[in-house]
């Protein structure tokens, strides 16, 4: 382990806030979902890094990451089903054009 822990955390911080930027600026629903994946992925890296460097004898961080990946998969599948349904009904998935869902 010649690499300090902070290096990993800096990379995951950059990944997280890139995801936040995409979440704010994107209009396409699928692109928003992709930014969300970036955010979740950064959080998983953090869990694993803290587990490895601060509590190397235990496995809690790894299991938290495994379950978090499972929940992310479920969430993405349902979200994509909803987006495809919205596209089928309204022929567009742009958040500024899908106006019937707002009220």
């Amino acid at each position: 382990m010649s690499i300090p822990m902070e290096f990993y955390l800096v990379v995951s911080t950059i990944m997280f806030f890139t995801g936040v930027y995409g979440f704010i600026t994107r209009h396409n629903m699928l692109a928003i979902l992709m930014s969300l994946e970036l955010i979740l992925n950064a959080v998983n890296v953090n869990f694993v890094v803290f587990n490895r460097f601060l509590f190397p004898g235990q496995m809690e961080g790894m299991f938290f990451s495994i379950f978090s990946i499972g929940v992310a998969a479920a969430e993405t599948a349902v979200a994509i089903a909803i987006i495809i349904n919205v596209f089928r009904n309204m022929k567009k998935i742009d958040t500024s054009e899908v106006k019937n869902m707002k009220y």
Binding site: M1, S2, I3, M5, E6, F7, Y8, V10, V11, T13, I14, M15, F17, G19, V20, Y21, G22, I24, T25, R26, H27, L30, A31, L33, M34, E37, L38, N41, V45, V48, V49, R52, F53, L54, P56, G57, Q58, M59, M62, F63, S65, I66, F67, I69, G70, V71, A72, A73, A74, T76, A77, V78, I80, A81, I82, I83, I84, N85, R88, I93
Partner: protein
């Protein structure tokens, strides 16, 4: 100070993660954005291998890259034309996003780099035993995770049913 192989690999992986995640949120072609996301996810699996979490790296590849990303690509094909560019984002919104993300990143990095971490005395270099992972995943004792495991399986079942119910044709 000499540079070891793992450091070189770490720098390559971080360059891929940083560059591709930025490209993934600014690219105007959505299929290209999905491809950049693929590189980010694979490089993250490389991080897990570097940290000796081989099982987690396998899960990352098989679930994220093999499952979620394929789902993304299929839904992109279903909902947009190939080669279609997304419209340019308004400047005010881009500035707002930049302020929020750069401010948040600056604050987080400041806290991160001024903090002293109580490092463990000896960081283990070895890979986690697969037997230990299986025991922890399938037990009901302390530090064993049968209940969350079952909760995830019920959640995935509910997710399958919801996906069929929502996305099927009437």
């Amino acid at each position: 100070m000499e540079i070891t192989a793992s450091q070189i690999i770490f720098y390559i992986l971080s360059a891929i993660i940083v560059g591709c995640s930025i490209m993934s949120v600014v690219s105007r072609k959505i299929l290209r954005a999905a491809t950049y996301l693929l590189f980010v996810l694979i490089a993250t699996a490389g991080f897990y291998v570097l940290l000796n979490y081989h099982f987690l790296a396998a899960i990352q590849i098989s679930v994220y890259v093999g499952g979620i990303l394929v789902l993304f690509v299929f839904s992109i094909f279903l909902t947009s034309q190939v080669g279609e560019k997304m419209p340019q984002v308004k400047l005010s919104r881009r500035i707002a996003g930049l302020i929020v993300s750069l401010g948040g990143a600056a604050l987080t990095l400041f806290v991160l780099l001024t903090q002293n971490y109580p490092y463990a005395a000896k960081v283990s270099e070895s890979e986690i035993d697969m037997y230990a992972i299986g025991q922890s995943l399938m037990g009901t004792e302390r530090f064993q995770y049968l209940l969350p495991f079952e909760a995830i399986s019920v959640l995935l079942l509910a997710c399958i049913i919801t996906g069929i119910l929502v996305a099927r044709k009437k």
